[in-house]
């Protein structure tokens, strides 16, 4: 034991000295693939959820990887441990002269408001938010691009699925109760739930929608507990809007033999109970933002009503809006494939109505 440890130490010292020599020969940089534009440097700063959040941080990173591959940009990532890391992490990339620094998440609005002022010549993008001052009041920044999503539209589509199934008594235990588990009562989460609630009630006016918040985006046991309690109250369809935590709700539904609805990405693989998923293409948005900074190309129909159009030549833009119409949000059919025809019809009708502007799902939970 004793000698073994000495040997390990010796080994460690040798390795420590030897490895860098080997590694020095093969320094790696991102790249490859089909390079279409100039090589720019993109820094991605996650919020405290980290890259493995199975949610938007991860999706944003997927978008960055795609951009590295397709656009030949160089991408680097910093994961934030605490909220006080946001400023130094954003600053790190900006000070290093990165062309675009992407802040992932609503939580980083204040930090971005501060850093984007310090580096007026660096491009910034933020997912789910816009720069604010310390008092959380929005501040206009010419160098910041906000990437917003109409989550309520995706929520409405899956809400229609749940509502029609419930009305048809085609859910596992038809009770007229469905539910949603949110990670936290913040706008991106509540927009999903608002649409879900609205559409389900439209499909089945007698339906009861339970809403619970886990106050957590990572720990699956928290969400499975809340989902289980909702099942106890009669719910037989649960919509998770809580990232990695919400996976616990999907799993709990599987164990209870009821339906679940995935969020953000296509989550059909997580559990057999997932009938559909509400999609929020953070990866696409990230990619589009990078591409815009690189070559000025704009995503289709990105513009919200009342917003000034982007200027491609100066890369000046304040907001990209991703909605059903431009494919930035949507839904995927998973383990209830195909959907019953009346469900599919109702979903398609609503989808078209929203795209056409005939229906507007609410942004806040009633």
């Amino acid at each position: 034991m004793r000698h073994l440890r000495f040997r390990f130490l010796a080994l460690g010292v040798v390795l420590m000295l030897a490895v860098p020599l080997v590694a020095a020969c093969g320094s790696t940089t991102g790249g490859g693939g089909t390079t279409t534009g100039k090589t720019i440097k993109v820094g991605l700063v996650t919020d405290t959820g980290g890259l493995n959040d199975k949610s938007f941080n991860h999706l944003a990173y997927t978008g960055l990887l795609k951009a590295e591959h397709d656009l030949g940009v160089r991408g680097d990532v910093l994961q934030s441990v605490t909220q006080t890391d946001y400023v130094p992490n954003l600053t790190h990339f900006a000070a290093q002269g990165y062309d675009l620094v992407i802040a992932v998440g609503f939580d980083m609005q204040v930090a971005l408001g501060q850093v984007s002022q310090t580096f007026p010549n660096t491009h910034f993008a933020i997912i789910d938010g816009s720069p604010t001052d310390a008092n959380f009041n929005p501040v206009p920044r010419a160098n910041v691009l906000s990437l917003f999503f109409r989550e309520q539209e995706a929520g409405a589509l899956v809400g229609t699925v749940a509502g029609v199934l419930e009305k048809d008594q085609k859910t596992p235990k038809p009770t007229g109760v469905i539910s949603a588990v949110g990670g936290q009562k913040i706008p991106p989460v509540d927009r999903y739930i608002a649409g879900y609630q609205w559409a389900a009630k439209m499909a089945d006016p007698s339906i009861k929608v339970l809403v619970g918040y886990s106050n957590d985006f990572t720990d699956p046991t928290k969400c499975s507990g809340i989902a289980n309690s909702q099942f106890g109250q009669g719910s037989d369809v649960v919509f998770q809007v809580a990232g990695g935590c919400g996976n616990g709700a999907l799993q709990a539904a599987g164990q209870k033999g009821v339906y679940s609805i995935g969020v953000d990405a296509d989550q059909g693989f997580v559990d057999k109970s997932v009938i559909v998923s509400a999609l929020k293409k953070v990866d696409v948005a990230t990619f589009d933002a990078i591409k815009f900074i690189q070559d000025g190309s704009l995503p289709p129909d990105y513009q919200a009503t009342g917003e000034a159009p982007c200027v491609a030549s100066t890369r000046s833009c304040t907001e990209f809006l991703f909605n059903l119409k431009n494919g930035g949000v949507g839904y995927a059919v998973d383990n209830l494939n195909p959907l019953p025809s009346d469900v599919q019809t109702a979903v398609t009708n609503l989808e078209n109505a929203i795209k056409a502007g005939q229906q507007t799902p609410p942004e806040t939970v009633s």
Binding site: V19, P20, A23, P88, H92, K185
Partner: protein, 410 residues
């Protein structure tokens, strides 16, 4: 419960024969164990990195780059990295002192984090609600409020220990959770939530904010806009705290008594020191340092009360800081700089070497293991010439020792 042996190197130098050489050794000796522990941690950490197919040298180079702005591969700005280190170091000094003063009295304050949060809450309340006060009064009030809140919270654990004997380790762990949930309650749907924010309070008034070291504007300094240098004058508060700690421990009867209680409660009682009162006072001081740390961070850096639920580790890093600093004022400052640099460096390591910043926690734990187990001592005993049993008792009290013999192992 054995309390960590806290050598009182500050009060007594162990120079038995005052030759010049031995004097030099005597000065260096207190540094030996901490430096050895850090070395041990880095060697084992390198093994961990290499074993998981990482590049240890690159990892450490980028750590050094991030911490001190040296060995940088990607042109990181030295001044910026030093500023970042200073930001981490500032509260670590204070929480390190908090844990250290408790260690001196033989108490283990795992609750620095909770006390820090309580300090931040109090500071935020004062900084927001009394925001109209002039800065000259407001800023000190904010810091004092944090100090008092932390002191009260630490003192609670002290009172529980003194009155009911409840072990401070367990009570402070529980108090950590209570504090963190309380802060969540206040800022998420609670009375301190800022309009427009979802898990943060409004910022404290400008007059409640500790100024930065360099003025907040976009003039260039070291090639960067000045506003990137987030290092703030809180560092002076921390250094002042260290000076106070030094003064209390070395120059006051209170410090004498705190250490006496930590060394031997029986001797303390014999000397007319009220052990219970000293425990409570120690925990008050300990909590005060930690609470001040919370106030300083709030006032100088975050400005708003934010949700730090176990993401912020300042209160836990403090344990490593105080142990590595051997519970001395200067030691705590040096150790806080080291750990501040490691945390600041973790960011660069992640970006440049693609090694998770969590390696820093592994290194921190290794330092703790090494210090606690005192592996270095055992190495020394294994030198072949000694030929003694390695299980040599540390205390010879109950041993059959020939009286009158000089030099027992200390």
């Amino acid at each position: 419960m054995a309390t960590p042996s806290a050598p009182t190197t500050e009060r007594t130098a162990s120079a038995d024969t005052p030759t010049p050489l031995s004097r030099v050794i005597a000065y260096l000796r207190p540094m030996g164990t901490p430096l050895g522990s850090v070395l041990f941690a880095f060697v084992v950490g390198a093994i961990v990195v290499v074993a998981t197919r990482g590049n240890a040298l690159l990892a450490y180079e980028s750590l050094a780059c991030g911490g001190f702005g040296i060995f940088c591969q990607n042109g990181e700005n030295t001044a910026l990295q030093l500023s970042n280190t200073l930001v981490f170091t500032t509260p670590l000094i204070l929480t390190g002192l908090a844990v250290a003063v408790a260690f001196r009295a033989g108490l283990f304050n795992i609750g620095a984090e909770g006390q820090l949060v309580m300090g931040a809450i109090a500071a935020a309340v004062v900084g927001i609600k009394l925001g109209t006060w002039p800065a000259l009064i407001l800023l000190p009030s904010v810091l004092i409020a944090g100090t008092l809140a932390g002191a009260a919270y630490g003192g609670l654990a002290g009172v529980l220990k003194a009155v009911t004997g409840a072990h401070e380790v367990v009570t402070t762990i529980m108090l950590n959770y209570v504090a963190l949930w309380a802060s969540r309650y206040l800022i998420i749907g609670g009375p301190l939530q800022a309009p427009g924010a979802f898990n943060a309070s409004p910022p404290v008034a400008a007059g409640a904010q500790l100024p930065r070291l360099v003025p907040l504007n976009n003039n260039l300094l070291f090639g960067l806009p000045q506003s990137v240098f987030t290092a703030y004058t809180g560092i002076f508060v921390s250094l002042f705290g260290a000076a106070i700690y030094f003064f209390i421990m070395r120059r006051t009867a209170l410090g004498y008594e705190i250490t006496a209680v930590g060394q031997s409660q029986r001797a303390a009682r014999y000397a007319g020191i009220s052990v219970r009162r000293t425990i409570v006072v120690t925990m008050l001081i300990s909590g005060a340092f930690a609470g001040l740390a919370g106030a300083v961070v709030l006032s100088g850096l975050s400005h708003s009360l934010v949700d730090t639920y176990f993401q912020d580790t300042t209160g836990f890093d403090a344990i490593a800081v105080s142990l590595l600093g051997q519970n001395t004022a200067i030691g705590v400052v040096l150790a806080a700089i080291l750990f501040g640099a490691l945390h600041a460096g973790g960011q660069v390591m992640e970006a440049d070497a693609q090694i998770s910043h969590n390696l820093v926690f592994v290194l921190e734990a290794l330092v703790l293991f090494s210090l606690a187990a005192n592996f270095l001592r055992t190495f020394k005993f294994r030198l072949p010439a000694f030929g003694r049993s390695p299980t040599q008792p540390a205390e010879l009290e109950a041993q059959d020792v020939v009286v009158g013999a000089a030099d027992e192992p200390g």
